[in-house]
């Protein structure tokens, strides 16, 4: 819809964009469902799944450790100066561990993977679309969703929870670094608090979130790349648009989903 038309009739425009958004979400959901079911089609594509786990998971380890470590450190620092006012620095371990496991771990891991892997997925599949490689798959009677999307879905579902766990562990160690090593909090107290305050339900909640985020990220990023040719812009510009909207849309939806999930899980 053109901007002029939208300004003339804002109500019509609002309705138009809402319907388009809902339709897109429906298409993405069906796209994901097909890709997910095809994971189990025979013969299993184990090699391709392993390659994608290496790309999405293994290659993200460094960046996850880095962001996890600094997030934990900053949480330790901020938490300490807040708690010291109330004389309750002893609960720093609980504060850092719970905020990481319940909230920051899954969300920040998802956002880091979107930046590293999601954008690459959209661009890679987008380029395959504009250079007719996806058409070539169809002419060879190879289902492009099974060939390209299913291994990525399987790999994301496996990698996201593991990366989240790693983020949490490194983050807790980061909090220990600032809280105990730099600011002198008793290390025993820090880890005892971590141990006593974190319940299994918090860990499960964090994993549920990371699984939901995996579904959101992989389906949006693959979908945007897969349908690059339906955009108004063609060629390289189309791919750049797909990559941008894949990153923006999946970040926004991860945050919205996070809120919704937190409401249910608390």
């Amino acid at each position: 819809m053109q901007l002029r038309t939208a300004l003339k009739n804002p109500t019509v425009a609002l309705g138009h964009y809402t319907i388009t958004f809902i339709q897109d979400m429906g298409r993405i959901a069906l796209f994901f469902l097909k890709g997910f079911l095809l994971i189990f089609s025979i013969p299993l594509q184990i090699n391709k799944v392993l390659q994608q786990i290496y790309f999405i998971g293994m290659k993200s380890i460094f960046v996850i450790c880095l962001t996890g470590g600094f997030t934990g450190m900053v949480l330790g620092l901020q938490g300490y100066y807040l708690l010291v006012k109330y004389g309750s620095t002893g609960v720093l371990g609980s504060a850092v561990a719970l905020s990481l496991i319940r909230e920051m771990g899954p969300v920040l891991t998802a956002i880091m993977v979107i930046a590293r892997g999601g954008s690459a997925m959209a661009a890679e599949i987008g380029i395959m679309r504009i250079s007719e490689q996806i058409d070539a798959l169809e002419t060879m009677d190879i289902d492009p969703i099974r060939f390209l999307v299913s291994p990525r879905i399987a790999a994301a579902l496996i990698s996201f929870p593991l990366l989240t766990a790693l983020f949490d562990v490194v983050g807790i160690l980061g909090g220990y670094l600032t809280g105990s090593v730099l600011l002198g909090l008793n290390p025993g107290l820090y880890f005892t608090r971590v141990e006593t305050s974190v319940a299994m339900v918090d860990v499960t909640g964090g994993f549920v979130k990371s699984l939901v985020f995996a579904v959101i990220v992989v389906s949006i990023c693959c979908y945007q790349g897969f349908y690059t040719h339906t955009r108004a812009e063609f060629g390289a510009k189309g791919v750049s648009q797909s990559t941008t909207s894949a990153v923006v849309l999946s970040c926004v939806l991860v945050l919205i989903a996070d809120y919704a999930l937190t409401t249910f899980l608390l």
Partner: protein
């Protein structure tokens, strides 16, 4: 004529506001090669994509053996799809797979494959296309011509029944271009597949096609045999063909077929009105296919080029030699009777340098290069067609050489 294998009925296709196909009617017959020609941007590739089902017509139908895809069961559709193969204009090779993996993909993904057998098939196909020691290279590391040949190898590796070629020779040098044409024709004769070629290579593509269709302004303007195309009176078709035809054959450097035909007509006129005799000699490389099979298609085309160049060196400036078919060169000898034409042939056979002709065929196997010559002297009441038929009948192998 039999029932067409593929029939396109009144197909239309619009992209946004542009009507690309505007009621296309076309029949493709089993076991034949059909060329689709036309100006750039007239929708030839779009038409090809309708045949393989990558695009659906807005209205009209594409029928296979008289049945539309919609009327088939899922299994039947799948079985039909497996009979097809498609060579894309821009190759569409998978840039994350190496050459061997690219060519093997249709085999690996679709059948209960045996790894060793797949490897063997892939290697055989690559060798047939003169692609050696590039199995581990990625498409980005190959030249344009090589990519084209890898794409051809990938399309032919499954031994398909129907092959669609979207400009398979664009960007190739004359030798490789004709090598690809001869390979398509050779494979078609050996395996009997049905081929559909979108091409701008006029007249080369006519040598290998049994039917030609011209697409113009979204409709089929002409449909028929290459001979019918040459004789058509439709000004649009004639202008298009003339515009693309070069006066010289790209591979051999001798005159093109249309220029040769004109020369024949002129000589006939001189004979009828000024009583100047003339003869024609048709030189046919009888076993070009064997050379192709033993030494490769590129070597075969090089041998043909060397032979044409040898003939050109042995004719007078007033004579005309032109490419008459894939493996045929015709020489028009003005002011010459049949006896003198025979002397000309004897001179050719005496001067022939075997090594020079087969210099491109680097093979240890024994190779034979057999040329047949037919001679015909024109009479006042001769027609070009009868003259050409006569010269074709009187062929005797008159030299053979081996290395």
């Amino acid at each position: 004529m039999d029932q067409p294998l593929i029939q396109i009925k009144n197909a239309t296709k619009n992209f946004a506001d542009v009507r690309v196909l505007d009621g296309v009617n076309l029949s493709i017959y089993r076991g034949q090669i059909t060329s689709i020609i036309g100006q750039s941007g007239t929708g030839k590739s779009v038409l090809l994509k309708h045949i393989i089902g990558l695009l659906q017509p807005d209205s009209g139908q594409v029928l296979f053996d008289g049945r539309s895809l919609g009327a088939m069961k899922k299994d039947e559709r799948k079985a039909l799809k497996r009979k097809f193969s498609y060579v894309f204009q821009d190759t569409a090779l998978f840039d994350f797979l190496n050459v061997a993996e690219n060519v093997a993909l249709p085999l690996v993904e679709n059948a209960n494959h045996n790894e060793a057998k797949v490897k063997e098939q892939v290697q055989a196909k690559l060798n047939q296309l003169d692609l050696y020691e590039i199995e581990h290279k990625y498409p980005a590391q190959l030249s344009g011509g090589m990519k084209k040949r890898v794409a051809l190898a990938r399309a032919l590796v499954t031994d398909p029944e129907i092959v669609l070629f979207d400009e398979p020779t664009t960007g190739l040098d004359p030798i490789r271009k004709t090598a690809v044409h001869s390979m398509i024709s050779d494979y078609q004769q050996r395996f009997g597949f049905t081929g559909i070629i979108v091409s701008h290579e006029i007249p080369d593509v006519f040598f290998i096609s049994q039917r030609v269709a011209m697409l113009d302004e979204g409709q089929i303007r002409f449909e028929g045999t290459p001979e019918e195309l040459q004789q058509t009176t439709d000004p649009v078709v004639r202008n298009f063909i003339r515009g693309l035809e070069s006066p010289h054959d790209e591979l051999t450097g001798v005159a093109s077929q249309s220029l040769g035909q004109k020369r024949l007509a002129r000589e006939l006129f001189r004979l009828q009105h000024h009583s100047r005799p003339f003869s024609i000699v048709l030189l046919t490389v009888e076993n070009l296919e064997d050379v192709d099979r033993i030494a490769g298609h590129v070597a075969g085309q090089k041998a043909l080029r060397n032979f044409a160049s040898f003939v050109k060196q042995n004719v007078y400036i007033t004579d005309t030699c032109f490419r008459y078919d894939m493996n045929k060169i015709m020489v028009v000898l003005p002011d010459t009777d049949a006896g003198q034409a025979r002397q000309f042939c004897d001179k050719l056979s005496r001067n022939l340098d075997t090594d020079a002709i087969l210099s491109g065929a680097e093979t240890r196997k024994r190779l034979c290069f057999a040329v047949a010559a037919g001679i015909a002297q024109a009479q006042k009441d001769s027609q070009i067609e009868t003259l050409l038929t006569d010269v074709g009948k009187q062929q005797n192998i008159f030299w053979e050489c081996q290395i």
